[in-house]
Symmetry: C2
Subunit: 311 residues, 2 copies
């Protein structure tokens, strides 16, 4: 089977959230072992990943060094995280596969994803990114044209548009490499968001694409049978944090969408994962699973996690 | 013919050396037009590029933001420039090709290149990178383990190892994509320098590979017939800056090596280009050319630049 595995941001940093280079390398090695387990069971894996903490660090560098070096746009930051996470993940996967006696070429591709310039999210940005700031400092950035929101106790935080991913622009390169037997790492951070200009050229935009929705699109693009979203919990939960809280095991798309409509899933975390697996199965995928990193090999066969299957 | 075109750092920034994102995009569009001209003549192009100013900016950001964000290693900086330059070059090339009615898929690959941990350059670093600093500030960084050298009037500058590139580690992905008809952008900045650990795993190292030597290795790896190094002068010059200065047109490997031995070419600029074209032709390449960006289409056929051919 062809399986799209999406590694969440938490799989790429230390357990305490630190994201120094050595933390990222250590975390990625653990993740690579779990992905190699899936390959060892005979599956054909395509890999994608989040990049939240990494993009946050790049934005902070942009700000702190702005007097010395011109800040780079957000789409460049996404590209940079595809490169650094791609680099350490290729290294770690090659090693984990070799340790299991598996010979499989691995590579990382710079991947652009088309979004619509008229996406409503551009006029009402919704995705919080980067660090928290006191109101005064945030207001200075608002004056510079950025959107910042009061997020309560921790302070203000920048929000950016998170438009719908419409098309993996580098799909031909991805499918060529997948078809040639590569374990391809692609569309990291949901893909580098680009809009099509009237003259046909592409332009990167100040936005981030939801990684899970990007993963669902990539899964459909490479015609994967299974989509596994690896996160920090084994199951999606209903009534999270309340006495009646319960884990979701096997569930239909219809039920899952109805739970989502009832507000069971947080918009910034489980919500997009639920939407992603629903879309994937509705679009013809065999199985979509949300589970923890250590359960992904079982999840591929529907034996772990919150499992949605085609009926 | 298959042609490896290497774009020098000067082709990727403004004429005055500024490297803001908009400067890079504008410069890359011009370069993409010249590369598209080569494709329009029916050649199969593989592209690589320098990254000096871009890596310099990333190192400066590393330093200025060090109190807020853990600096990333030099191999990550190289990877980041492969991503950002790759991204804008893919966009610009697709557009330049479409404007000529050419349909050719373009993609950018994260490319690692093997170096030897025992390369003598690791013990005597030779490649100056990044900004100049006053002695006192440079000495503070020396105390932190970096190598800095007094470069005269402009101040001190960091020097890093520039080991020999031995093997394009991602060659299989590059050749698969080239074989499938892609215009591949690969091995940017000479490649991400990696050493092989005793356990077989790879480790990125604090070094930069010379872009031109990396280009010669990539050209051999993809079995290109022609290597064109695009720089800011139309020819390599003998007796540069002296009354007897003269441009080199057609020249044999033997002559060129003898001029190099006589000290005609600066070690940081024309020297590695001369070495790269000599190596390429000695290794079986048909033609190596050093010329300016605007002459590359003629250079492919030996009708511009300093041309070295197999005898």
């Amino acid at each position: 089977m062809r399986v799209l595995v999406a590694l969440g941001g938490n799989a790429l940093v230390a357990a305490d959230g630190r994201a120094r280079p050595e933390d990222q390398v250590a975390a990625v090695r653990t993740a690579a072992d779990r992905v190699a387990d899936v390959v060892a069971r005979g599956e054909e894996v395509v890999l994608t990943h989040g990049n939240g903490p990494q993009v946050g660090d790049l934005l902070l560098k942009n700000d702190v060094a702005a007097a010395d070096v011109a800040p780079v746009p957000l789409d460049w930051c996404v590209a940079q995280t595809q490169a650094t996470i791609g680099l350490i993940t290729v290294d770690a996967l090659e090693h984990a596969l070799a340790a299991r006696g598996l010979r499989r070429a691995v590579c990382a591709l710079i991947t652009r994803t088309l979004v619509d310039a008229d996406d409503p999210n551009f006029t009402s940005p919704s995705k919080p990114i980067g660090r928290y700031l006191p109101e005064a400092e945030a207001q200075a950035l608002v004056a510079r044209g950025e959107h910042w929101e009061d997020r309560g106790e921790r302070g203000w935080r920048r929000v950016v548009p998170s438009p719908e991913p419409l098309e993996i622009l580098d799909r031909q390169a991805v499918t060529t490499l997948v078809g040639a037997g590569f374990l391809v790492i692609a569309n990291g951070g949901g893909g580098i968001p680009c809009v099509r200009e009237p003259d046909g050229s592409l332009r990167g935009v100040e936005a981030v694409i939801d990684k899970d929705l990007g993963a669902a699109l990539l899964a459909a693009t490479v015609e994967a049978q299974v989509l596994v979203l690896a996160t920090d919990v084994e199951h999606a939960l209903l009534s999270y944090g309340r006495p009646e809280q319960r884990a979701l095991h096997r569930v239909s798309v219809e039920e899952l969408r109805s739970y989502a409509a009832d507000g069971h899933f947080a918009s910034g975390s489980m919500g997009p994962k639920v939407e992603a697996v629903c879309r994937f199965v509705e679009g013809g995928g065999t199985r979509g699973v949300i589970t923890s990193l250590d359960r992904i090999a079982d999840a591929v066969h529907g034996k772990a996690g919150t499992v949605v299957e085609r009926e």
